[in-house]
């Protein structure tokens, strides 16, 4: 059986509501694909269509080259880990992990070894005899991962697996998941999350979803540096989106002509300029914009300044300032021409 997942025009409706709108997406064998989007964007529905818990109204779902659209979940051979762990409370850790092996009629003699392997891999071998209620949230999630991996799936579905954990545990588990993937290079992983840090850290590619549709898909670097849509630009990295009018050379924003790459855009048309807050500097420089400070947030190592330029707020993340500037202070901010990306209005977001 080959690995990889393919959505072929998958549409899911709930009583007249389209919750997933003709999704076309391919997860390559061994690839980690993050489905990133706000709640209600259709990302979990897409994952559940792969698992077999929702039946598409139209379209096909493939695991490897097998069309699984009509198969019940128990015949799909996938591993799944969800936010709330979903361990069986009455079974010990080892029996939780063995559950899938017994269900799939793995020979009795093989089961203890495979349970031990899976627990070893997730660092839970010492807890085999415990009950789930005797474990912390992070440990329970490790057991859930071990249980999913024990059946040696070609496809692993992770549905917000770290959302129930606190921030510190989350970053530890993120590293753990990355390590697991290095140890299991053939397993395709579909990782549903609303957290861009998880997606950027773990994914080979990110599919950005919004309002039941795929908005954008690409490598994390690609999406971050060259977002194609306003939604991607703001959802991934919370970029500045400045409405500009395209000129012969550069683009005009609030009466200032900015030196930015405009290749391909028709002069005179309106477009959106995307600039990452951490690439906006304080003080004079290229593409200088003047305005008043509308709000200041201290974030430890950085200050976030909201600078009112005309009727717009430009966000700038600057290294921590010795003195917090007063609200209303007149300041100049700037950004390098190559740090700006021009988004043609409405590209790809229907």
């Amino acid at each position: 059986m080959t690995s990889g997942i393919r959505f072929d025009g998958v549409t899911v409706t709930y009583g007249g509501n389209t919750v997933l709108d003709s999704l076309d997406l391919t997860v390559e064998p061994g690839e980690v694909m993050a489905l990133l989007g706000p709640s209600g964007s259709g990302k979990t529905t897409a994952l559940r269509a792969v698992a077999g818990f929702v039946r598409p109204a139209s379209g096909r779902v493939f695991i490897g080259d097998r069309d699984v659209t009509a198969l019940p979940p128990y015949e799909r051979g996938i591993g799944m880990v969800v936010q709330q762990y979903a361990l069986f409370p009455h079974l010990r850790v080892e029996d939780n992990v063995a559950f899938g092996l017994k269900a799939r009629k793995v020979p009795k003699g093989e089961i203890p070894g495979r349970v031990a392997d899976a627990l070893e891999m997730t660092g839970m071998a010492a807890y085999a005899r415990r009950h789930p209620r005797e474990l912390s949230g992070g440990q329970q999630q490790r057991v859930a991962i071990a249980r999913a991996l024990a059946i040696r799936p070609n496809v692993l579905l992770l549905d917000e697996p770290l959302s129930a954990l606190d921030a510190q545990l989350r970053s530890g588990m993120l590293a753990e998941l990355a390590r697991l993937h290095r140890e299991l290079p053939d397993v395709s992983i579909l990782y549903v999350t609303h957290d861009q840090v998880e997606a950027l850290t773990l994914a080979d590619r990110i599919a950005v979803m919004d309002r039941a549709r795929l908005q954008d898909c690409g490598t994390p670097q690609d999406l971050y540096r060259r977002p194609r849509t306003e939604f991607t630009a703001s959802f991934v990295g919370n970029a500045n989106l400045l409405p500009v009018t395209v000129g012969e050379k550069g683009a005009a924003f609030e009466g200032v002509t900015l030196d930015v790459p405009v290749s391909g855009a028709a002069p005179g048309s309106t477009a959106t300029l995307c600039v990452r807050p951490h690439l906006v500097g304080l003080g004079p420089g290229p593409n200088a914009l003047s305005g008043r400070i509308g709000e200041v947030q201290w974030r430890g190592s950085t200050h976030r300044l909201y600078v009112e330029v005309g009727g717009h707020r430009v966000k700038a993340d600057v290294r921590e300032l010795r003195e917090t500037p007063a609200l209303g202070t007149e300041v100049t901010v700037h950004f390098a021409p190559e740090d700006a990306v021009l988004l043609a209005q409405g590209v790809g977001d229907g």
Partner: protein
């Protein structure tokens, strides 16, 4: 209410005191006792005193020996126990299956059925028996249809007057008492667990056996012991089916006391019946406490 100076309002703790079971400050102060008097008095008059009378009556010389050694008592005890155990087993099986369907198989009207279960619990037990009489009684619908079809004046359905009729009526009436705690338990169950089991390769039958059933055990035990106690004491159903050969302990009390005016014997049977059901009730409380009910 004006502050009475004594009683409930005085049960204040020192600020910051941590209440524990063994905390001496948590002991009921003597001033509270007068408040307990009225309910205890009512209880004593309407319940404890008559109960004591029953027990005293049963202690008549030779009454226990005579009753316990009589075949009619032993028959009644046996009938009571097997009917109660069989009814309970039937209720558990039927209740589990029905609750499974209502809880996990989405069907139109499922919520309404679940609500109806609650209403059903408030029905008197004889109502079910009456309904069964209309259906399967000697002049009931089923026999009527048979008579119309074949001309045979006596229909084939005569089981209502046998222990099987009582069993059917008890299972019909008491099954919802098993379903109620089961539905509560099922509603607490995470669908994510069922989905996880399914994605791990478990077919529905395995999920029922290995995921749902173990989690339903406390609810089954609680519902089952409740039904067992209620079946042991059931009088209305046995009386209404008119099953002549079916004498249970409550029926025996009735016939000894009312028909034979043998109060001593009736009281002995009653004491045995009370002991049996109180014992089971204690068991039920233990089980349901474990189930968190």
């Amino acid at each position: 209410m004006a502050s009475p100076g004594t009683g409930l309002l005085e049960r204040r703790r020192a600020p910051g005191a941590v209440p524990t079971r063994s905390d001496p400050a948590d002991r009921v102060p003597a001033t509270v006792w007068p408040w307990a008097l009225p309910p205890v008095a009512v209880l004593a008059v309407v319940f404890l005193y008559p109960l004591a009378l029953v027990v005293r009556e049963s202690l008549a010389p030779g009454a226990y020996a005579e009753v316990l050694s009589s075949p009619s008592f032993r028959d009644a005890l046996l009938t009571t126990v097997w009917l109660a155990v069989a009814s309970t087993a039937g209720c558990l099986v039927l209740g589990f299956v029905l609750a499974l369907v209502i809880a996990f198989v989405p069907f139109p009207g499922g919520k309404a059925v679940s609500k109806f279960i609650d209403v059903f619990l408030s029905f008197p037990s004889f109502l079910i028996t009456l309904a069964l009489l209309f259906l399967y009684g000697t002049v009931g619908m089923a026999n009527g249809i048979w008579t119309d079809a074949t001309g045979d004046p006596t229909g084939p359905f005569r089981f209502l007057g046998t222990p099987w009729g009582v069993l059917l009526a008890e299972i019909t009436y008491f099954t919802p008492f098993v379903m109620r705690p089961l539905l509560a338990a099922f509603s607490q169950m995470e669908t994510a667990q069922l989905e996880a089991a399914s994605s791990l390769g478990a077919r529905p039958s395995r999920i029922v056996r290995q995921v749902i059933l173990p989690e339903a055990l406390p609810a089954l035990a609680a519902g089952g012991s409740l039904v067992l106690v209620m079946c042991l004491n059931e009088f209305g159903i046995v009386l209404f089916t008119g099953a002549k050969g079916v004498t249970t302990l409550p029926m025996l009390v009735h016939s000894k006391a009312i028909l034979e005016s043998d109060y001593a014997a009736a009281c002995v049977v009653a004491v045995v019946n009370v002991a049996l059901s109180v014992g089971l009730y204690v068991l039920y409380r233990g089980v349901s406490r474990r189930a968190g009910a």
